[in-house]
Symmetry: D2
Subunit: 157 residues, 4 copies
């Protein structure tokens, strides 16, 4: 890797969610982009789409690691789609690609991503998501989540 | 699949654990084998080894889906080793192969397997494992866990 | 693994093929089962189904490592279905599980399995399949292929 | 995906090779970058490193889809590393991510990538690589390979 590589922040959460939650995810994407980070996600709808939209609105770069094998399935805010064809197992790659992970509410797919983030020792910031233990930074505000994610990513790089 | 295929029960949990926990896992393996079920696990040590040992002591059959690409890494009680080389992503396959999943205490790898079991809609019985919600059957006794697993597996087959 | 574990022979080839080719694959499955080996395949139709049928007709045991995540997709001769959900990537696992691989004619999926067998250093016997180099044992007769596969598997175990 | 997404060209080949071959791979990377394409590869050494270097020297963007789970394993010319932890199975993702694939000489790992490219119906240009059939565009000159790859990628997009 180049020495000056950019920080990569993953945003995970439900593939279908309210507009309010999508907008909260967009706040994270926007801040990451403004600070020069790369937004990584699962490339589909809901939280993933919100986060990617926020990053693109701030002129940032987005990577979507898709469950399907077809890049046409990526949402419209994804610059670089990685169509894995590996289904839910792609969650592991989303987490491994990230320097820090921000989790929004989601069901068991999100829970598995949080579990893998903890397993991989990645900083994990939860915005009203699953409460799994003290290793997770719990916050209510998405901007606060984004700031903590960038800080912790920089520390661990 | 043949119409009379055998029920497959996965046992998941820590790769390193106390003798007491290994023996509890062996109780599940033994019951599954006695009832004609197949014991599926991740093929490594700890809970996985205990469960496989219990199944073999009762004359049963065991399948180990390994994280590594080398079948020599399987514990000595595994009849059929599937060396995936896919690391933790093999957890997903353990769960998909099973008709029901019994979870023992474990860290975040186990949590991810429980998350995938719930995601895949598989019956999940937890023996003092992560408490994640009402869809999980919580028990203290491994024999009770094994009985519930075989019952729920038969129902869902 | 137990010291006396059984040899595992993978049969790979087209998912759709003529009755003649299915019957040739069945000859391999039958011989493997008669000699106490386990038949491993991708669990679907064509060559895979022929090989599994041959093994079952001789009272043997069959393992099918499926591309889909649903074990109901396995052919009717599969005893133990491993529903991976990893699509074509499951070919790698078929090869890794085997002690030797017998390849029948097939298109590029089969070619990838042959490539992975060579990459993994597994003995590879081709029955009128892709001619890729001197490391492959080329034969015309399926019984000859089965014999060579069991011999080479025993040597490499 | 955005309507104006950039073309992605994968370069595959040996992880260790002569300087001459690395320089040939760099010619492909350079042309792809000059034409506004994205260079995709397996992120490691040899051909992959040569191709990524060429792209970076022309101010382009590079994506490396790694076999390991650690992004520190990427070569120094990779902008965006995807550490899969899936070993050789990541070859499938390299191919799926690409709009066209350029293959240089390599052993069986490269053969498997070519097989997957053909299986996935991706345009495949071989520079003195495995000769597998008429669907492959065979060339001797890397610049010619790069031009054909960009053309065929644009057609298939």
């Amino acid at each position: 890797m180049p020495d000056d590589r950019k920080l990569m922040i993953a945003v995970v959460g439900a593939g279908k969610c309210s507009k309010k939650l999508r907008d909260m995810a967009a706040v994270v994407g926007k801040y990451v982009a403004e600070q020069g980070g790369i937004l990584v996600c699962g490339g589909m709808g809901g939280i993933m789409e919100g986060a990617a939209r926020g990053a693109k609105e701030a002129g940032g770069i987005t990577i979507g690691i898709l469950p399907t094998g077809d890049k046409a399935d990526a949402n419209e805010y994804i610059d670089y789609a990685i169509p894995t064809g590996f289904g839910e197992a792609r969650n592991i790659m989303v987490v491994r690609t990230a320097d820090a992970v921000v989790a929004f509410p989601g069901k068991y797919g999100t829970l598995s991503e949080m579990a893998f983030a903890l397993h991989a020792g990645k900083p994990l910031i939860a915005v009203n998501a699953w409460r799994l233990g003290d290793e997770i930074v719990q916050v209510d505000d998405p901007l606060e989540a984004a700031k903590r994610a960038m800080e912790l990513a920089a520390k661990g790089k």
